[in-house]
């Protein structure tokens, strides 16, 4: 059997199931963008350093450029497109970024938001040091991070207000 041949995978992305035939060498980042048209996952360095392509795999933040799409067969992926509940209904973390000017060009933002979702679930009231530790895995060249830290703090507050 030629193992380089396409194989069929079924993967749930943002709650919706997709079945596609893929080459084993297709990266998850390219699968999301080119196969199912979810271009919110941005591709920056393509070697795991910049964090722009971060998505959730079974609710854990991972680099989609360092995973092959075949490895997600039968698993659940979440991307930035799944964050808001609809038009004008931003996720509280997105709202924090909007209000606190946590972005300029926005290229790094999807990866940062996806890193933050499990982080704030596990640590709803993080210290500034914990926030900066988490952000160390995401490179932003516009903002100098100060506004991003403030946006995370605001997002964390908004989540808590929403759940109380």
């Amino acid at each position: 059997m030629d193992r380089t041949l396409d194989r069929t995978i079924t993967v749930k992305v943002n709650g919706r199931e997709y079945e596609r035939s893929v080459e084993p060498r297709l990266l998850l980042s390219d699968f999301l963008r080119h196969e199912i048209g979810l271009t919110g996952t941005h591709v920056g360095c393509e070697h795991g350093v910049c964090g722009a392509c971060t998505v959730l795999l079974d609710n854990e933040a991972v680099r989609s450029c360092l995973l092959f799409a075949v490895q997600t067969n039968g698993r659940e992926v979440a991307t930035v497109e799944g964050l808001d509940a609809g038009p004008q209904q931003l996720h509280p973390i997105q709202h924090g970024f909007w209000e606190a000017h946590g972005l300029q060009c926005g290229f790094c933002t999807p990866g940062i938001l996806m890193s933050l979702v499990p982080f704030l679930e596990q640590n709803p009231d993080p210290t500034e040091k914990e926030i900066r530790d988490l952000l160390s895995g995401n490179i932003c060249r516009c903002t100098g991070y100060q506004k991003i830290v403030e946006a995370v703090q605001l997002g964390a507050r908004l989540i808590q207000e929403k759940s109380s």
Partner: protein, 298 residues
């Protein structure tokens, strides 16, 4: 597409994986967390003919304790090691050092066995394994053997494993009572490759003299570098600040022979090594003694 084409298999058992590894006869790479392998494939620096994906082999994911210490399956995620209460209790040095490894998003996927077998000289886990006197369990279709960590690393990205062998487990023996430990590293930004790092494990006798000392560097040689002269200077001595400084100095000037790269030249690496060695030895000794270090004679 970025990576070159490859054969892909996803075995469900260790035996299946070992069979595949033998069948490919050195042409296959094992895919663990992929956090080092996939970047090199994306750049096409690595173009393996085949990938054997180990992520579906449940028997390689475990953390447990036996009478000799801690045992981790090779596919245990670095994040699981970091969060394990068992690791924190049984092998606190490992627990303490995990957050230095890259970023949380990388540790979510990266594995303990993948990093140990990749043998990157800048990686934390190989240096920790040598410092903790870990033993590696290596399997092939026909053979099974334990290799001491200090014999496992034989050069730049090179281990004592044969092409058909695979690292399946790592065992960390418990430290005896009266031991102290510490890890530290210097990087431009937290999570980046360290320009220098070191792990220290020190044992004191009942009288407070050094009975055992191990100091292992990362990022200053072709693999983890054990500072044997430095350790030799400390053993049998009272661990005063003066003695620690002399040991750190010997480590930086005699035990290592760092080469420069764009991040740090050889002289700067020696400077960092001296500082990091003094720091980790002091912290390890304070932990072992349960009190602050004496100044010592000048």
């Amino acid at each position: 597409m970025k990576p070159a084409a490859f054969d892909y298999s996803a075995p469900r058992t260790l035996e299946e994986a070992l069979d595949l590894l033998a069948d490919y006869g050195g042409d296959a790479k094992l895919l663990a967390g992929g956090q080092s392998l996939v970047p090199t494939m994306n750049f096409r620096l690595a173009q393996p003919a085949a990938l054997i994906d180990l992520n579906g082999i449940d028997e390689l994911f475990f953390i447990r304790e036996d009478e000799s210490g801690l045992r981790c399956g090779a596919m245990t995620r670095q994040r699981s090691v970091e969060r394990s209460a068992l690791v924190q209790r049984a092998t606190p040095l490992l627990h303490e050092a995990m957050p230095y490894i890259a970023h949380s998003q990388i540790r979510n996927r990266g594995t303990i066995g993948g990093s140990l077998a990749h043998a990157d000289p800048a990686a934390e886990l190989p240096a920790l394994a040598v410092a903790l006197d870990a033993r590696m369990y290596v399997r092939s279709v026909t053979d099974a053997r334990w290799v001491a960590a200090r014999d496992f690393y034989v050069g730049l990205f090179a281990t004592a494993m044969l092409p058909e062998e695979m690292l399946v487990e790592v065992a960390f023996p418990s430290l005896p009572p009266g031991s102290g430990w510490a890890f530290d590293e210097v990087a431009r930004q937290h999570g980046n490759y360290a320009m220098c790092g070191a792990a220290a494990v020190v044992g004191l006798d009942a009288g407070g003299a050094v009975e055992k000392a191990r100091l292992v560097f990362l990022s200053v040689g072709e693999g983890p570098v054990e500072a044997k002269r430095a350790a030799g200077l400390l053993v049998g001595e009272r661990p005063t600040a003066t003695a620690i400084r002399a040991a750190a100095d010997a480590a930086a000037t005699q035990d290592i022979d760092p080469v420069g790269d764009i991040h740090a030249g050889p002289a700067f690496r020696r400077h960092l090594s001296r500082a990091v060695a003094e720091r980790v030895l002091s912290r390890a000794i304070e932990k072992a003694a349960g009190k602050a270090i004496e100044a010592g004679a000048h």
